[in-house]
């Protein structure tokens, strides 16, 4: 009984790291930029496919491929921002949303065209035998993902809160005009933020691709969870997204263990409804100017 409970906790810890990573990329774009980014899941799939192409087709080293996949995600994100979002800067939010839905469909279908719908898997350099503690076990690959996720989350936190670029980001999305008057190059900040958020999505895909399988529709589920995590944690809050990711993972694991696996995905959303009832701005809310 206790063994089972501890195994569930260990699983939730591993899963939480991946959820948190999915959440922080989106919290930058959706939370800070207020762009309802429907391409987030596709950037995740893109990262996984790049990892597949680099490792399985080109034979590049696993760890070098991870860095490259993230860099390619940053480039693709930057390109989406420059070609789709920049011309729509002063348009209504619904127009931007429609364009992003279009981009999502185009990206997903291009993936299927390029790679077919057959699921692909990526070989990893970790031992096939799991890491065992008594009756508990966890794969080495998942431990690696958790560590990299923690590193990327801390780096993002530092970037947003401790660097000049981060300050420019926060200033730009709080008040564009004032930020521009203060000499912030707001167009560049928009592109940089979107590219960074996209790079983090691609990094999650590249990290999780080898654990799961790579399919053109893999981004849909990732995007759903990411939106849930961002809303749970409070928009634009890196710490909130991290905590939100872990809470969602624990809710799902414990829900399956002691209630029912049929409601696994409902469990997380039920929790979000409960938290939003008590704290409508998310778990860790930031003070914010409404206008």
């Amino acid at each position: 009984m206790l063994d089972q409970f501890l195994q569930h906790c260990l699983n939730a810890l591993m899963l939480g790291g991946t959820y948190a990573l999915l959440g922080i990329g989106l919290t930058l774009i959706f939370g800070i930029m207020r762009v309802v980014n429907f391409t987030h899941g596709e950037l995740y799939a893109f990262g996984a496919y790049m990892m597949y192409a680099l490792v399985m087709r080109l034979g590049i080293d696993f760890f070098a491929a991870l860095v490259l996949a993230m860099a390619l995600g940053i480039v693709l994100g930057g390109a989406i921002e420059l070609t789709l979002l920049r011309p729509l800067r002063s348009s209504d939010i619904d127009i931007t949303m429609l364009v992003m839905i279009g981009a999502w469909i185009v990206l997903q279908n291009s993936e299927q065209l390029a790679w077919t719908g057959v699921a692909q898997s990526i070989a990893n350099p970790f031992p096939a035998e799991p890491l065992v503690f008594g009756s508990l076990s966890v794969s080495w690959n998942r431990v690696f993902v958790l560590l990299v996720a923690m590193f990327l989350i801390s780096a993002t936190y530092f970037l947003v809160n401790g660097t000049k670029l981060g300050r420019a980001m926060r200033a730009t999305f709080q008040d564009r005009e004032t930020a521009a008057l203060m000499g912030v190059r707001i167009e560049r900040v928009h592109t940089a933020t979107f590219a960074l958020g996209s790079g983090l999505a691609a990094a999650s895909g590249a990290l999780l691709g080898p654990i799961f399988v790579v399919t053109p529709t893999m981004g849909d589920l990732a995007a759903t969870k990411a939106f849930a995590i961002v809303i749970l944690g409070g928009l634009g809050n890196v710490v909130g997204a991290t905590v939100g990711g872990f809470i969602l993972a624990f809710a799902e694991e414990i829900g399956v263990a002691y209630i029912s696996s049929g409601y696994r995905d409902a469990m997380g959303f039920l929790l979000i409804i409960l938290i939003l009832l008590v704290r409508p701005t998310g778990l860790i809310a930031q003070k914010e100017r409404i206008s």
Binding site: M1, D3, Q4, Q7, H8, N11, M14, L15, N109, Q112, T116, G117, V118, A119, Q120, S121, A128, P130, V132, S137, V138, S139, R142, F212, V213, T215, P216, T217, M218, D220, L221, E252, E253, G255, V256, A257, S260, S261, G262, R264, D265
Partner: protein, 383 residues
């Protein structure tokens, strides 16, 4: 816009409308609704590829009723709403007299009311939910086995394998839940204790919670009902969690070749119910046909892992064409009537229909062959 430009656009549109594929007015159209994109894209494309091989074979042999056949394949996007739209389009716009589809049970069930509305028969090539043939829809002709048939076929093996306590893990839709119910019934009747019964969202990729619970339940065998990508992940994650149970997949949609390629070592020791054994074509009822099909499949460069899905498309189309031939006309009602009496040598075995469902409005069900294979050291072996 200048008049010249407008005229040139009109000319271009006119050209597009007239160009199209070679005049096929004379060909007999057969509608196919498969998931070519979305979650089941891989399987849907394999079925469509198998159907294409049948189309080419039949046309090479002179077609049927002195006419060629033409498949019109529509993508139902793995989505029930879209599946209904493809059926509407095929029946209303293309005027097809007969359909084949729609892969997953949920997709097939969504299309079924349309068959009654327009009075057009549909051959079901993959779906296994019992509901399809027991709900009283006389337009349904299913060649794939029901979950109940699979469970029955498996029953004698319970003793051979020495199963004492079993767990069930299925995808949370008509296919998974239906199979779990039938296998539970069969296992209980054989005196097997049932442990944990877990489900998962059809899109889920992490099953650690379900597997930890199954491990704690402590059975010797785990029955898994889902598609091949989830089965791949379940095998990998079961190994991560050191689950010692023997894993058996049902439904026939878990391509063993794909599992070997993608789950690697984790696939070793797992057992799979399949409806076609391309690894030993001699083991099937019509070995010549099976060997020919495998050869053509490989010649076309299709994925070897797709053979266990592709044969369904081939068998489906040959069955439909046999009915058109017997009917002597392309009227939907005549085809429906003729389907009841067809005897076809299929890749899976001999195809013929028996009655299922409420009297007076029975659906047709084939009694197909079911095989159990094992993955041993990265190779598929007979059981």
């Amino acid at each position: 816009m200048s008049t010249e430009r407008i005229l040139s656009i009109i000319a271009a549109v006119g050209l597009l409308l007239t160009a199209g594929p070679a005049p096929a007015q004379d060909a007999i159209k057969i509608g196919v609704s498969q998931p070519l994109t979305g979650a089941f894209a891989a399987s849907g494309n394999y079925v469509a590829q198998g159907a294409k091989i049948a189309e080419d074979d039949i046309n090479k042999a002179g077609g049927v009723l002195g006419r060629k056949i033409q498949l019109i394949v529509e993508d139902n996007k793995s989505n029930p709403t879209e599946a209904v739209a493809t059926a509407e389009k095929l029946i209303q716009k293309d005027k097809v007299p007969v359909l084949m589809g729609a892969w997953s049970s949920t997709l097939t069930l969504a299309v079924m009311p349309k068959l009654v509305e327009y009075e057009v028969p549909m051959l079901v090539e993959t779906s296994s939910s019992g509901k399809i043939t027991t709900s009283g829809n006389p337009w349904i002709f299913r060649i794939s086995p029901t979950s109940e048939m699979e469970a029955k076929a498996f029953a004698p093996l319970v003793k051979t394998l020495g199963i004492k306590k079993a767990e069930l893990l299925g995808t949370n839709n008509d296919f998974g839940l239906g199979a779990m119910q039938e296998f539970e019934k069969m296992l209980k009747a054989a005196g097997v204790e049932i442990g944990a019964k877990e489900t998962m969202d059809p899109k889920a990729v992490d099953f650690s919670a379900q597997l930890a619970k199954i491990k704690a339940s402590g059975g010797d065998t785990l029955f898994v009902t889902t598609d091949v990508s989830q089965a791949t992940l379940i095998l990998k994650q079961a190994k991560e969690q050191q689950l010692k149970s023997r894993i058996i997949t049902t439904g026939g949609s878990v391509s063993p070749d794909q599992l070997i390629a993608q789950a690697g070592e984790a696939a070793n020791g797992s057992l799979h119910l399949v409806f076609f054994t391309p690894w030993f074509p001699d083991a099937v009822k019509n070995p010549d046909l099976a060997t020919k099909f495998v050869k053509e499949w490989n010649a076309r460069g299709h994925n070897v892992g797709g053979l266990t899905e592709g044969f369904r498309g081939y068998d489906g189309i040959t069955t439909i064409v046999a009915a058109i031939k017997a009917a002597g006309t392309v009227e939907p009602k005549a085809i429906q009537k003729a389907l009841w009496n067809v005897k076809v040598h299929g890749i899976n075995g001999d195809i013929a229909f028996i009655k299922q469902g409420p009297a007076g409005q029975e659906s047709a069900q084939n009694v197909p062959s079911v095989y159990l294979i094992k993955i041993d050291n990265g190779k598929v072996v007979k059981m």
